[in-house]
């Protein structure tokens, strides 16, 4: 039996809490059937923390992320963002808060196909109240950092998967959110593109970005401060990632070449 309270990890004591969820439950009802996708989850994410959510398909990872981002309503439980309870806000009030403080990066990018890359990235900043000049400046910086400045005027569908993923990341960071929520950001990417995205996430996190990310990719766990393992809609483990003791600085601890 999984103890869902005892294992609830939290940021280090000196880190102020950015996002807190208490007793989150999500029940889907359809016809006479009800399915509990999330069954009493407690989570805290500290300012600047990088937390990965892992677990088998169907363990409730994406649902949990949607609840935390306000894309779906929880059946029970509380969500607090920056000290403010948000789960009882109206749709529009929550949307306003989200534009200011949360960036979303989806697995399938959700870029607007009728707009250029540049417009896709600037839009969230404009919606959050930035002036056109500020939004453009921020977009230029982000695209440059992601190495896709040359694609600014292209339509998203002309880009490779790796490039689209970088645009999605730029867009998610455009309004300088306190929290980046990402769903499988390296899913469906070739290994070179995945490496680019991981490098960016690492760099963004090192610059102080808080990240909460759902992933199957264990490489992400190697970058995160903490990994939450979900199982059957509950937290099975919540642990800080601590480098394993090494015998040498080389790869020999993992892989032995013989001959």
């Amino acid at each position: 039996m999984i103890d869902l309270l005892a294992s609830g990890g939290r940021p280090p004591d000196d880190t102020p809490v950015l996002l807190r969820a208490k007793g989150l439950v999500k029940v889907y009802r359809s016809g006479g059937l009800s399915v509990e996708a999330v069954r009493g989850v407690n989570i805290e994410v500290g300012i600047g923390e990088f937390v990965a959510i892992m677990g088998p398909s169907g363990s409730g990872k994406s649902t949990l992320l949607h609840l935390l981002g306000g894309l779906e309503r929880a059946t029970y439980g509380e969500i607090w963002l920056r000290g403010q309870r948000v789960d009882r806000l109206s749709e529009s009030a929550w949307a306003v808060l989200r534009r200011r403080h949360v960036g979303f990066m989806f697995q399938f990018f959700n870029l607007l196909s009728t707009m250029t890359v540049a417009d896709n990235v600037e839009l969230p900043a404009l919606l959050a109240g930035a002036t056109p000049r500020q939004a453009r400046r921020r977009r230029e910086v982000l695209l440059a950092e992601l190495g896709i400045t040359a694609k600014a005027n292209a339509a998203p569908y002309r880009l490779s998967g790796g490039e689209q993923q970088r645009v999605a990341l730029a867009r998610a960071l455009a309004n300088e959110p306190g929290l980046l929520l990402a769903d499988e950001p390296t899913g469906n990417l070739d290994s070179a593109s995945a490496r680019d995205v991981l490098r960016l996430l690492r760099r963004t996190h090192e610059a102080g970005q808080a990240i909460l990310m759902v992933t199957h990719d264990a490489k992400v766990a190697g970058l995160a401060d903490r990994v939450i393992s979900l199982f059957d809609g509950m937290v099975a483990d919540d642990a800080r990632v601590i480098p394993a003791p090494r015998r040498s600085a080389a790869v020999g601890d993992f892989l032995e070449l013989r001959g």
């Binding site: 294992s7 264990a218 990632v241 080389a250």
Partner: protein, 168 residues
């Protein structure tokens, strides 16, 4: 160590220290640096087996160095090795034994065992990612070595997840 040394000697004759350097340059920091003593011992054995031959080369103001070259027999052995498919890697099954047997005897809880093992794998992944971060300029062989280790570790974690689904 035998076959890699034969493979390097197939390119050109070399002395022990040159072989050590060649291995390091090819596989980079990702691979543990071969011990020079071990290289000399291996070369000696290869010579006893007739796979390499050696001769002393005089050096000004230094002790002679012993230069090794591949024999016809050595080339034959090397060619056979190169074309022989290798056994797949062995699965690390010690944890699996613990996971299956310990709870039967009431010695441990499976979920706890899985969580502890998973935390350890995550820690190993952190090490690999840190190595990878410092490797942009490394040789392809060195980068691929890390990628191979990452993929194996990912498979270990996936297997752990399957064990969790079936056994917990």
């Amino acid at each position: 160590m035998r076959q890699p040394l034969l493979a390097l000697l197939a390119k050109e004759p070399a002395h022990g220290y040159e072989l050590k350097l060649a291995l390091e340059q090819t596989f980079g920091e990702a691979y543990p640096s071969p011990n020079i003593g071990q290289i000399y011992v291996t070369l000696k054995r290869l010579e006893t087996d007739g796979l390499v031959s050696s001769q002393d080369v005089e050096q000004d103001s230094r002790p002679n160095k012993r230069v090794y070259e591949l024999t016809a027999l050595g080339r034959e052995a090397l060619t056979a090795w190169v074309h022989e498919p290798i056994e797949g890697p062995r699965v690390r099954d010690e944890f699996f034994m613990k996971l299956v047997l310990a709870p039967m005897a009431g010695l441990a809880d499976r979920m706890e065992l899985i969580n502890a093992q998973r935390r350890h794998y995550f820690g190993m992944m952190r090490n690999l990612m840190d190595m990878q971060a410092g490797m942009d300029a490394a040789t392809p062989a060195a980068r691929l070595l890390i990628e191979g280790a990452v993929l194996h570790l990912q498979a270990d974690l996936d297997w752990l997840e399957r064990c969790q689904e079936e056994l917990v």
